[in-house]
Symmetry: C2
Subunit: 277 residues, 2 copies
């Protein structure tokens, strides 16, 4: 590799394999091992050329097996953008205009599932781990929405996993935003109602110590601690829905020619407008 080329940003100097994004940026996604010194020189040369070409943000995605290259990128002014267990994404803004590098994800999504049968019994579980362990408190099934999963899909999945009960998603009754639930990140907890489609219980042995259909009044009378008020209000809001015309938000698919998959708009169930193309 010719050092002079890289210093001067000549058009014929070697560059890292890359592709362009929709915002005038460059994405380098390395998959194969590379010598750190060679990577460093190539990166320098590439940055010079991308600057000449008026590129804006430069992204480098490094699988964890290429951890040896992280230092070289940081030394050339890259910062971390985000990380998942098996890769690290670094970014550097190389344009004179102000950076428009998008923010990192800030929230995890969790669901609480109100599954009520025709006898006004609520599907409840005893948790094996976590804060409820050993308290004897029966709570509604809860769980984390997975990456890329729709809220209504996550809710039915968690109910099925923990209790074996099939259900149909009805609506989001309420949601709660809490901050600093892990480090600087936040949680959004969606309280959902689901209609049971099956009633036989088969518990998830690894997570759950027991599950049952419990009269809603009995559920609400439990001694929920302060930090668990949302489980108390679950019953109140549920009863308000049954008796006082409380309405939640139902998911409605909004298809578009731009995407193969619909995205979902959660709107008040009273809305009668067509929400789709």
């Amino acid at each position: 590799m010719d050092q002079d080329n890289s210093e001067n940003g000549r058009e014929d100097a070697p560059v890292l394999p890359s592709c362009e994004d929709e915002h005038g940026g460059i994405i380098v996604e390395l998959k194969e091992p590379m010598d750190p010194t060679e990577f460093s020189l190539l990166l320098k040369s590439s940055l010079s050329q991308w600057k000449l070409q008026g590129k804006k943000g430069v992204w480098i995605k490094l699988p964890i097996k290429l951890v040896i290259l992280v230092e070289a990128a940081v030394k050339q002014g890259f910062v971390y953008h985000h990380a998942e267990p098996h890769y690290l994404m670094l970014v550097k803004w190389i344009h004179e205009t102000p950076s428009t590098i998008p923010a990192n994800a800030t929230h995890r999504l969790r669901i609480g599932a109100i599954v009520l049968n025709d006898k006004r019994e609520l599907l409840v579980v005893l948790e094996k781990h976590g804060r409820f362990k050993g308290t004897g408190i029966w709570k509604i099934p809860t769980g984390m929405v997975e990456e890329g999963e729709d809220i209504f899909v996550g809710a039915t999945r968690e109910v099925k996993e923990e209790t074996g009960v099939d259900s149909e998603f009805i609506d989001v009754l309420a949601f709660r935003q809490m901050h600093k639930t892990f480090y600087q990140k936040s949680d959004l907890f969606f309280l959902c109602t689901l209609k049971p489609l099956s009633f036989e219980i088969q518990i998830q042995e690894s997570e759950i110590d027991g599950a049952q259909w419990m009269p809603i009044a009995e559920y609400a009378a439990q001694p929920f601690a302060e930090q668990h008020y949302v489980f108390k209000y679950a019953a109140d809001i549920c009863i308000a829905k049954l008796e006082s015309g409380y309405t939640g938000f139902t998911p409605r698919p909004t298809t578009s020619f731009l995407s193969h998959n619909p995205s979902y708009l959660y709107v008040n169930e009273l809305l009668t407008l067509p929400i789709s193309h």
Copy 2:
């Protein structure tokens, strides 16, 4: 340092400075430079002892200036958990029970603000950058909710920043979940209504080309492209709220002795129950 100590996990072997978390885990937060070889030996010794002590997850938070230590942690079986511009969090599960390492954040939050005055005029802006640049389309103010910020705070802040208008948050009218909006991450977009408290417009020159109060019918008649359907439905839902009893979710503080700051539960405004301690 005595290599034998580290191999055998003896109680008197040196360990990295650390503290314990609430879940039986260990947090190492390095701030000062350390030689990578020394770090590697200390980490090995520490892991042995933490295993003997029955610790579960081990977290290492490395500021970007200590990037030189990342490789040593990965070589000892750590994976990435998350990253922000100036630090990287690594984690390793060292207990025999199944890992309960919490998931990373998956969503960014955005708001769209419906600010309507008494003349049924909507506060709209012309964006200087992004997808609406040069389209001539007047849209409602939108923006990213910042890390640690409440949705209702983010909405009033964005309206003030973009247009200079003071407003009071009313409710969330609807929300939309979209996946893979950047890499594997998702967006939640909250469509909110706000009541204007001032009416004089002063635009944010860096982001906005113009702002005005526009009759809602005129706004809705604009040729929104398919990917911008949510801006069209903003008007429909807003009219449904004005005319057909459509109700959104209002934030209600839920105080607790466990936290200095309240967290907010967004519930249907029709709910008359007291949601607080």
